[in-house]
């Protein structure tokens, strides 16, 4: 949980602002998942902080949604070229991938439960980066 908050803070995911009156403020929550290894033993406990994107209204909080997805035929062509020329093939995994995207729309969210700012408890978060659960998230 602390790791996740640290990653969010490091990325400047949001800034605290006074609660806007003419704007929709979406909720948020923690999701806890226990990752198991193949043999059933606990690998790690995972905490993911998500925004409740279903509270967002079309046209106000978001306009277009899409995911960057590569065509399967492209993958097969590249893999065929790879074996034909005997190239090396490597795989990378981006951590907190969604947090790399910037938000174009103004989206306000409640403060994360358990991590409410002591100085400004009634402020809300004005999101600057995309967050899991947002309609805009996969677009990043």
């Amino acid at each position: 949980m602390d790791d996740e908050i640290a990653a969010l803070k490091q990325n400047n995911t949001w800034r605290l602002v006074p609660r806007p009156h003419n704007h929709n403020v979406i909720g948020c929550r923690w999701i806890f998942k226990t990752k198991l290894q193949a043999d059933g033993s606990v690998e790690c406990h995972k905490a993911r902080f998500v925004a409740q994107g279903f509270c967002q209204k079309h046209g106000i909080d978001f306009d277009v949604t899409f995911s960057p997805v590569v065509r399967p035929a492209t993958v097969r062509i590249i893999l065929t070229l790879t074996v034909m020329h005997n190239w090396a093939l490597r795989q990378l995994d981006v951590k907190n991938a969604f947090l790399h995207g910037f938000l174009q729309e103004e989206v306000y969210m409640e403060q994360p439960p358990g991590y409410i700012d002591l100085e400004f408890p009634s402020h809300v978060c004005c999101l600057q980066r995309t967050l899991y659960g947002l309609k805009q998230a996969p677009r990043a």
Partner: protein, 369 residues
């Protein structure tokens, strides 16, 4: 990405290509998964280091597992398998102990909309969707899965029985996967076929095609046409237009990778009339209504971007994408579609471009695991 000198491909915006003096690098992006390949080991390592500085990421080493697809190197090249996904799917459908069957679809049968509605439509949709994902490495399932997916909105008991038959077939062949072959020439060959007025209700035809890059099957399709064809030649001609569009897309992609083909791609079709329409700029009374955008294929043939050839029906590889075929033919075609059971030393003695008339397929075509 662009800052590192990469160019986003116009053919697929999630493919990034870098051409340097010492080689070429390709990067494929799938939301947060990245595959990198390239001709130069050193460049590859430099790229990974530079990316690691930019984003926090984990280097997973050599590619083994991508989007639920296992990538296994064997002596023939790369083997793509969704065995684990198939087994999980069977568990989900509660069909682990079902009886096996050798083909996924009943020969000559066609699904219709009428029938008693299936009580659990959500389950049907979820399983049909899961089967659709399985077709990523299983072209042999393409036609049967496509036919049930046409009834996602209102599944009946009949549709559910068809779905169960596919699952029974999957159970016997869960360890099968797609083999990409390393010993192949870089030629593109497309097989196109259509089943004229196959659907008894709407009288629409089904397009089927298969595109090979060398000996590896890289793209295929089984799809009901959007308009009604008045003749079999028209249906075949529309199928040709679909595959021509796919091949021109591939040509663009290969061009961006600076890959030159030794010869122009060949399109094989088993209908002489359709070949005639595509090669001759004359309009006959029977073909005058075919829409202009379908004449796109005529232009490509005239400009020598594509060459069209006739293939006799018994050597037609796209047939399995347009109808349910009989067991023996199906098992033979499955091998030609590069779908093989997994083993570290896959025995593959056939040659898909063997035009001698008798494909020498002697691999195991039995239907039990």
């Amino acid at each position: 990405m662009l800052g590192l000198g990469f160019l986003a491909s116009r053919a697929d915006s999630l493919l990034f290509v870098y051409h340097g003096p010492h080689g070429v690098l390709c990067l494929l992006l799938y939301v947060d998964d990245i595959i990198i390949t390239g001709s130069n080991q050193l460049m590859l390592r430099t790229l990974i280091n530079r990316l690691a500085q930019e984003f926090s990421m984990k280097d997973l080493g050599d590619l083994h597992y991508f989007l639920g697809i296992e990538v296994i190197r064997n002596d023939k090249g790369i083997f793509l398998s969704q065995a684990k996904y198939a087994l999980d799917l069977l568990t989900r459908a509660d069909m682990v102990d079902c009886k096996l069957i050798s083909t996924p679809f009943v020969v000559g049968s066609h699904l219709t909309e009428s029938g008693t509605p299936h009580c659990d439509a959500t389950q049907f949709r979820s399983l049909a969707g899961a089967l659709q994902y399985l077709t990523l490495t299983r072209p042999d399932l393409s036609y049967s899965v496509n036919s049930i997916c046409q009834y996602m909105h209102a599944p009946t008991i009949d549709h559910f029985c068809t779905l169960k038959r596919i699952l029974r077939y999957v159970k016997g062949t869960y360890h099968y996967g797609l083999q990409l072959s390393q010993h192949s020439s870089s030629t593109l060959i497309g097989y196109s076929d259509a089943d004229w007025a196959g659907c008894p209700v709407t009288r629409r035809s089904t397009t089927g095609y298969a595109v090979y890059f060398g000996q590896s099957l890289i793209s295929w399709c089984s799809k009901k046409q959007t308009t009604i064809a008045r003749s079999s030649a028209e249906a075949e001609y529309r199928a040709l237009a679909t595959i021509a569009a796919e091949i021109s897309w591939m040509l663009q992609l290969l061009h961006e990778l600076h890959i030159t083909l030794p010869s122009s791609p060949r399109l094989l079709c088993d209908n002489t009339s359709a070949i005639f329409i595509a090669s001759n700029p004359v309009t006959k009374s029977r073909s005058k209504h075919i829409n202009i955008d379908y004449h796109f294929v005529r232009e490509l043939v005239a400009g020598k971007t594509l060459s069209l050839c006739f293939v006799p029906s018994h050597l037609q590889l796209a047939d399995v994408f347009t109808k349910g075929v009989a067991k023996l033919q199906f098992l033979l075609d499955r091998g030609k579609l590069c779908v093989f059971p997994f083993s570290t030393t896959t025995t593959w003695r056939g040659n898909i471009r063997d035009k001698s008339g008798s494909p020498n397929y002697d691999q195991d075509i039995s239907d039990t695991p």
